[in-house]
């Protein structure tokens, strides 16, 4: 556990930089994390981030397959929006835990 200053606010993060208290999240913090990850946020990003936060809030697991079926983006667009490791980046920016692969 550590505290990190993002967008001028102190937030709790874990050793990988994922926020540990979803209630501390706001759009400015999201933009701050996104900048570190090399992502510039558009309205479509925020639409998807809202969708991700809602999914996590009700306890659903996040997968690229599920995001591809979200109706907001398909898997290919998702990769374009969060280049490299989309699921890891998108969850970090959305202030939710990194999805664990359960195997």
């Amino acid at each position: 556990m550590a505290i990190k200053t993002i967008a001028g606010v102190n937030v709790d993060v874990n050793e990988e930089g994922y926020m540990t208290d979803a209630s501390q999240w706001n759009k400015e913090i999201a933009a701050g994390i996104a900048a570190e990850e090399g992502v510039e946020l558009t309205d479509q990003h925020f639409e998807l981030i809202d969708w991700i936060r809602n999914k996590v809030a009700v306890g659903d697991s996040l997968t690229i397959r599920a995001i591809g079926k979200s109706g907001i983006v398909d898997a290919k667009q998702f990769y374009k929006m969060f280049p490299g490791a989309p699921l890891k980046k998108a969850t970090k920016i959305a202030g939710v835990p990194k999805p664990t692969s359960c195997i």
């Binding site: 697991s61 997968t63 690229i64 397959r65 079926k69 898997a75 998702f78 490299g84 692969s101 195997i103």
Partner: protein, 409 residues
């Protein structure tokens, strides 16, 4: 008469039929088990087939050998479950009523989920080894293969027996070395995970083994399509990996019947309480084995450990008591590493695979996260235990709950 209905007579369903027939009075409870196939496959044996160590006859037995006396067996396809009516419809119109239902319909490979996978090169230069057809086709192919890029790709998580693809590349390394052609075969392990495995210590240990065996790993690869004309796999980020032989671990899905019943998630796995094994919406439905969505390995060891939990909790439900058993996600996997040696991992929902000895602290005889000859014998011995002890629902000398004794933090 009250009715217990079990859907699926694979590893999990067969164990439950045996256990519950022991528990429930014959004059009070009818037990019925339904499956569409008559042959039981020893699935851990499929891995050995491409390398000529086992053949088809080593991994099959009739399902009927493993059902206890006093259980009705129906070989039929299942149309759907009507959970509100406590009924199951079979193909052909038969209606089965139940008081309690156990769903044990497992998972299947779904190669059609990746564009170009089940296309013109399927079973020519592209294979799976999670089906008897794929494993035997690959065995014939390897007999005359001249070498090139051997690409092993995991399409998507979750998939059955998470260590099998690693064992496959370890075996391939030994197989082509023994045939004197390892220099002509480049083995590439392409995975959607960030490393060889999910949890840190096992990933490090298994990643080091890949390195020692000169097996290249390409992590974070989420396959978008197989290009059959140019013989390459492409991921969503644009990374391309050319292959001469592609061995795919296709997307795993639950049975289509689950979707028809409206009981599945987007991959047809049934939402299930990970501790009680009760279906999320219906109190008289329980789920065991690969069919559920519980966050642990889809593996026979998990089905086995959770069968003891389900046996206890189902008796609680039947007798109107609160649940007394809670599943911890325990999984235990022998991992073949080639050349007659193997390693072993033991873990659960909360504890990652750790080094140590198993099952007896300090004694073993098996070593956790170590490569040893004894671990390999453990895996071979397991086939006998599977047929003779495990499927019949008898006690195995391993606790269903994961033990910390013998593990080093």
């Amino acid at each position: 008469m009250k009715k217990l209905l079990i859907l699926g007579a694979g590893t999990a369903g067969t164990m439950m039929a045996n256990k519950m027939r022991n528990n429930l009075e014959r004059d009070e409870w009818d037990i019925t088990i339904v499956d569409q196939y008559k042959t039981h496959y020893y699935q851990p044996g499929f891995l050995f087939i491409p390398f000529g160590m086992y053949t088809k006859k080593d991994v099959i037995k009739p399902k009927s050998d493993f059902f206890p006396v006093g259980v009705n067996v129906i070989f039929s396809k299942i149309d759907k479950i009507l959970p509100k009516e406590n009924q199951v419809l079979l193909d052909g119109g038969t209606v089965l009523k139940y008081d309690y239902l156990i769903i044990a319909t497992g998972t299947r490979t779904a190669p059609e989920e990746v564009d170009g996978l089940k296309d013109k090169l399927w079973y020519k230069d592209i294979f799976d080894f999670y089906t008897i057809e794929g494993a035997t086709a690959l065995a014939s192919y390897f007999k005359t293969w001249k070498g090139g890029n051997l690409v092993v790709n995991i399409a998507e998580l979750p998939y059955k027996c998470p260590v099998a693809p690693l064992e496959f590349v370890f075996f391939a390394d030994a197989f082509f070395t023994e045939r004197g052609m390892r220099d002509k075969v480049k083995i590439i392990y392409v995975t959607p995970m960030s490393g060889a495995f999910t949890k840190p210590r096992a990933t490090k240990m298994l990643g080091d083994l890949l390195d020692q065996k000169n097996i290249e790993i390409i992590p974070d690869f989420n396959i978008m399509e197989v290009n059959n004309d140019e013989k390459k796999i492409v991921d969503y980020g644009g990374t391309e990996v050319p292959f001469d032989c592609l061995v795919s671990i296709p997307t795993n899905m639950g049975d289509d019947m689950i979707a028809r019943s409206g009981l599945g998630d987007d991959m047809n796995f049934v939402p299930t309480d990970k501790h009680t094994l009760q279906q999320k919406d219906y109190e008289n439905i329980f789920v065991i084995g690969d069919a559920s969505n519980i966050p642990t390995s889809k593996a026979g060891s998990v089905a086995h450990f959770s069968s003891e939990i389900l046996e206890e909790n189902l008796m609680c439900a039947i007798e109107g008591r609160p649940f007394t058993a809670s599943f911890d996600g325990h999984a235990n996997c022998y991992i073949e590493t080639g050349y007659g040696k193997g390693t072993l991992i033991d873990f659960n929902y909360d504890t990652e695979p750790l080094p140590g000895s198993f099952p007896f602290p300090g004694v073993g005889p098996f070593g956790l996260l170590k490569v040893s000859r004894m671990n390999h014998y453990g895996k071979l011995l397991f086939r006998w235990m599977y047929w003779h002890i495990l499927l019949k629902g008898k006690e195995m000398p391993i606790d269903s709950e994961m033990q910390m004794a013998g593990k080093k933090l």
